[in-house]
């Protein structure tokens, strides 16, 4: 089975995000970048499928700046076989140009399965995976929390409001991974050493401009500080009062 995993380099969820001087991008000074956490599930699932089948190939594809090679190396260290970086210094917010470049790369690759994270934690757009599926004319199941592949068919479970939706599909297909699909492995020292020697192809990506313009970025409004209404049993009535009349949650 040949599996492609599309991954993105994103700011660490722990990073302190500041809006850049132009108000339209984030200031990347001192910001640590990581493999998008949802993409980690996708990489792990691909590796598990390959290990389960006893054979196969896992190809990691990313669009981004040169530094995204490091992100690809992380996936290679986890166990992926080869990497492709479609180099673009600036990747805009519009998912469509990104999806077009990826679809062109994947089209003739002979992939049985294309895996994505359900979203990137930097722009939360959820868009690229399903768009690539559409462009390739493949079935797509998004936000998958459980996946089984046997022969040429797959069964995926999606966690929906109040229940689980079970979807069956034929290969090739596009899957986007949700949290809980698996537990991503840590790269071992040996894996990291080996990853440095695995093939990583770098090509220039011709990204179209896209139809979305960023007007303004602003940090969320600061939350009001909490208040301690009292201590001990006497505080219970004050707390109930505050919850009922101020917070209006009771």
């Amino acid at each position: 089975m040949k599996i492609a995993v599309c991954i993105k380099r994103v700011p660490d969820s722990e990073a302190r995000i500041k809006v850049a001087a132009d108000g339209k991008a984030i200031d990347e000074t001192g910001v640590k970048f990581v493999l998008n956490p949802y993409d980690e599930y996708a990489v792990e699932e691909a590796l598990k499928l390959k290990e389960g089948a006893g054979a196969g190939e896992v190809v990691v594809v990313s669009i981004g700046p040169d530094a995204a090679q490091e992100t690809i190396r992380t996936a290679l260290a986890m166990g992926a076989d080869t990497g492709v970086l479609l180099k673009a210094d600036a990747v805009g917010l519009d998912p469509l140009p990104v999806a077009k470049v990826l679809a062109a790369e994947l089209k003739d690759g002979g992939y049985d399965l294309v895996l994505f994270g359900k979203m990137a934690i930097d722009d939360s757009s959820h868009g690229v995976g399903p768009m690539v599926a559409e462009l390739l004319g493949l079935p797509c199941v998004s936000a998958v929390a459980h996946l089984e592949i046997s022969d040429r068919t797959g069964k995926a479970e999606r966690e929906i409001e109040g229940g689980v939706e079970v979807v069956e599909f034929g290969l090739p297909a596009v899957i986007t991974a949700d949290k809980g699909l698996n537990e991503p492995r840590y790269p071992a020292l040996r894996g990291i050493m080996m990853a440095k020697k695995k093939p990583l192809e770098v090509k220039d990506a011709a990204l179209e401009p896209g139809g979305i313009e960023v007007v303004r970025l602003s940090p969320p409004a600061e939350r009001k500080a909490g208040r301690i209404v009292g201590e001990g049993p006497d505080a219970v009535s004050a707390l109930v009062e505050a919850l009922r009349n101020e917070a209006k949650v009771l």
Binding site: K32, L189, M193
Partner: protein, 552 residues
């Protein structure tokens, strides 16, 4: 406890049996030619210079061939466990990157102006800057940025830089160091394997370069195992540092002495502009302080209320907080040898810090570069024995590292027993370029310095200017999981006074006292190693645990 407290009486032994292994390396081992333990300025400069020497040799034809150079680092990402003031002397950078100019290096700005003050609680009296503290030609810098930059340079040269993998023990055979065993990841509180478990890995190398930083456990264990002594014991200071975004720009480097430290405590503060409105602020205190309730973190919090600092900090924002010990013993505390069979010790692990000028980064880098030269010659000769690697000792002994530390050999020791007497003795030692007082001033280990009871001043933490230890640890970026096994070894049935002494010393709230008993909150630890000097032992824990400094 009626009498004085002697910390050494309650301190567990160094767990040498855990740190020096004699069993054969595992079959599934990773082979390298040279492994550097610690991606700080010493380890990275060493790895870079070694890679340069290899490259040059191979370019000249009939070269040495491929040399696998690895750098193990316990932080999850480069620089996250590195903390320094820092005003950096660019000398070692210039030597390591001969084609570059100072603008290419990861520095903030050059030191344009500097002021030294004597503080009282409300006033600041300007003092003349002593020659040793003059910083003209030096640069304000963040060691985190330096380390990240050096890491990129190392990788460009083909060095395997491996963050997230702490070395937990030396692999040995006879007198020879064979390599290191990394620490397992994903253990639970009782040592059970959790779902993300990664077993330890054995890294075998022809030379192991110990560049662990301050109070490196493998370096300490190696010295104890081999009986490597020094004329004076190594002594340490604890520095607590904060990074602030300022409302008002700071245009100079500030150092202070005096308040909030009592006269019988050695130390001082610093405030450096990394950018005009981003400043590093810290307080550094010798761990031989005589008062068992003394608390460096709390003193730093009080210090910020001083008008000198307050005018910059008020309305600003605390961005980061951290702590680290500094080896302060100087010349007489250097190990009598720096190399052995298959091993060398670099940087802070060896004690290359000059206290009067408050410098260590360039000595660390330079020591790494000297080690690289010795290692390269040893690899070329296919002989990594102690005799061959002793070239490193010779290069250090003939260098400015030795000269600078020798010149100031008695300055820090002069301060034992009080600031004013110390200042006079240190002044004479400086004026005579080290000849006063003749010979060597004896030092005792910090752990045997007697501690008397003291008052516990309350510090109001307001969350704007002053921060509790819990808030401070949050600002260190420490996100260590709560289920990690405790990595500190504390004595048992400790008297409450001893527990309180640890609780006050530890800036990160690892130790608390509850009903007179010691409570250990191990995940809080930011690896400063302060209490390891006088009390509970620090041991290496899983990769990525501890702080995540960004610009310290």
């Amino acid at each position: 406890m009626a009498g004085p407290l002697i910390p050494a009486e309650h301190q567990p032994h160094l767990p040498r049996e855990r740190l020096i292994l004699t069993e054969a390396p595992a079959e599934e081992r990773i082979d390298m030619d040279v492994v550097f333990v610690g991606a700080g300025p010493a380890g990275l400069a060493g790895a870079i210079h070694l890679a340069q020497l290899v490259q040059r040799d191979n370019e000249s034809g009939d070269g040495i061939g491929e040399v696998v150079i690895g750098v193990l680092e316990k932080a999850a990402s480069l620089g996250e466990h590195s903390l320094s003031g820092a005003v950096v002397n660019p000398r070692a950078f210039r030597e390591l990157f001969p084609g570059s100019s100072d603008e290419d290096f990861p520095f903030g700005g050059p030191v344009a102006r500097e002021s030294l003050y004597w503080l009282s609680e409300r006033r600041a009296r300007r003092l003349p800057t002593p020659p040793s503290m003059r910083n003209h030609g030096n640069y304000v810098a963040s060691i985190c940025e330096i380390v990240r930059w050096l890491g990129e340079k190392a990788q460009e040269l083909g060095v395997d830089v491996l963050p997230g993998f702490p070395a937990g023990a030396l692999l040995t055979d006879g007198e020879r160091v064979l390599g290191v065993r990394t620490v397992a990841t994903g253990l639970g509180r009782e040592g059970e394997q959790l779902s993300g478990y990664l077993p330890p890995a054995d890294v075998v190398a022809k030379v192991t370069a110990l560049a662990e930083g301050t109070r490196g456990m493998l370096s300490l264990a190696y010295q104890e195992w081999q009986g490597i002594g020094s004329e004076n014991p190594q002594i340490y200071a604890l520095g607590v540092k904060e990074l602030w975004e300022l409302k008002r720009p700071l245009d100079r480097v500030i150092h202070t002495m005096g308040w909030p430290l009592p006269n019988d405590v050695f130390g001082g503060s610093f405030m450096y502009p990394l950018e005009p409105t981003v400043a590093a602020l810290g307080l550094v205190v010798g761990l031989d302080y005589p008062d068992r309730t003394f608390d460096v973190h709390d003193r730093l919090q009080r210090m910020k209320a001083h008008p000198l600092f307050r005018e910059y900090l008020e309305g600003g924002e605390l961005v980061e907080w951290g702590a680290k010990t500094i080896p302060e013993g100087g010349y007489y505390a250097l190990p009598e040898r720096l190399s052995g069979d298959g091993v060398v010790m670099l940087g802070d692990s060896a004690g290359f810090v000059d206290v009067p000028s408050l410098k260590g980064v360039h000595y660390a880098m330079q020591s790494g570069m000297f080690a690289a030269r010795a290692i390269f010659e040893a690899l070329k000769a296919d002989d990594t024995s102690r005799a061959r690697l002793a070239t490193y000792d010779r290069l250090v002994a003939e260098s400015y590292i030795r000269d600078d530390l020798y010149r100031t050999r008695n300055v820090r020791p002069a301060f034992t027993g009080g600031f004013f007497k110390g200042a006079i003795r240190a002044g004479l030692a400086t004026l005579t370029r080290g000849r006063f007082p003749g010979g060597r001033i004896d030092m005792e280990p910090d752990a045997t310095a007697s501690r008397r009871p003291g008052a516990v001043p309350r510090v109001p933490y307001d969350g704007r200017l002053t921060y509790s230890k819990v808030d401070a640890v949050f600002k260190s970026g420490n996100a260590t999981r709560d289920t990690i096994p405790s990595h500190v070894i504390a004595g048992e049935n400790l008297p409450p006074e001893v527990a309180e002494f640890y609780a006050h010393m530890c800036p990160a709230g690892v130790y608390e006292v509850s009903d007179g008993k010691l409570v250990v909150n191990a995940p809080n630890c930011v690896d400063c190693k302060a209490t390891d000097v006088v009390g509970p032992r620090w041991t290496p824990r899983e990769g990525g645990a501890g702080p995540q400094y960004k610009r310290m």
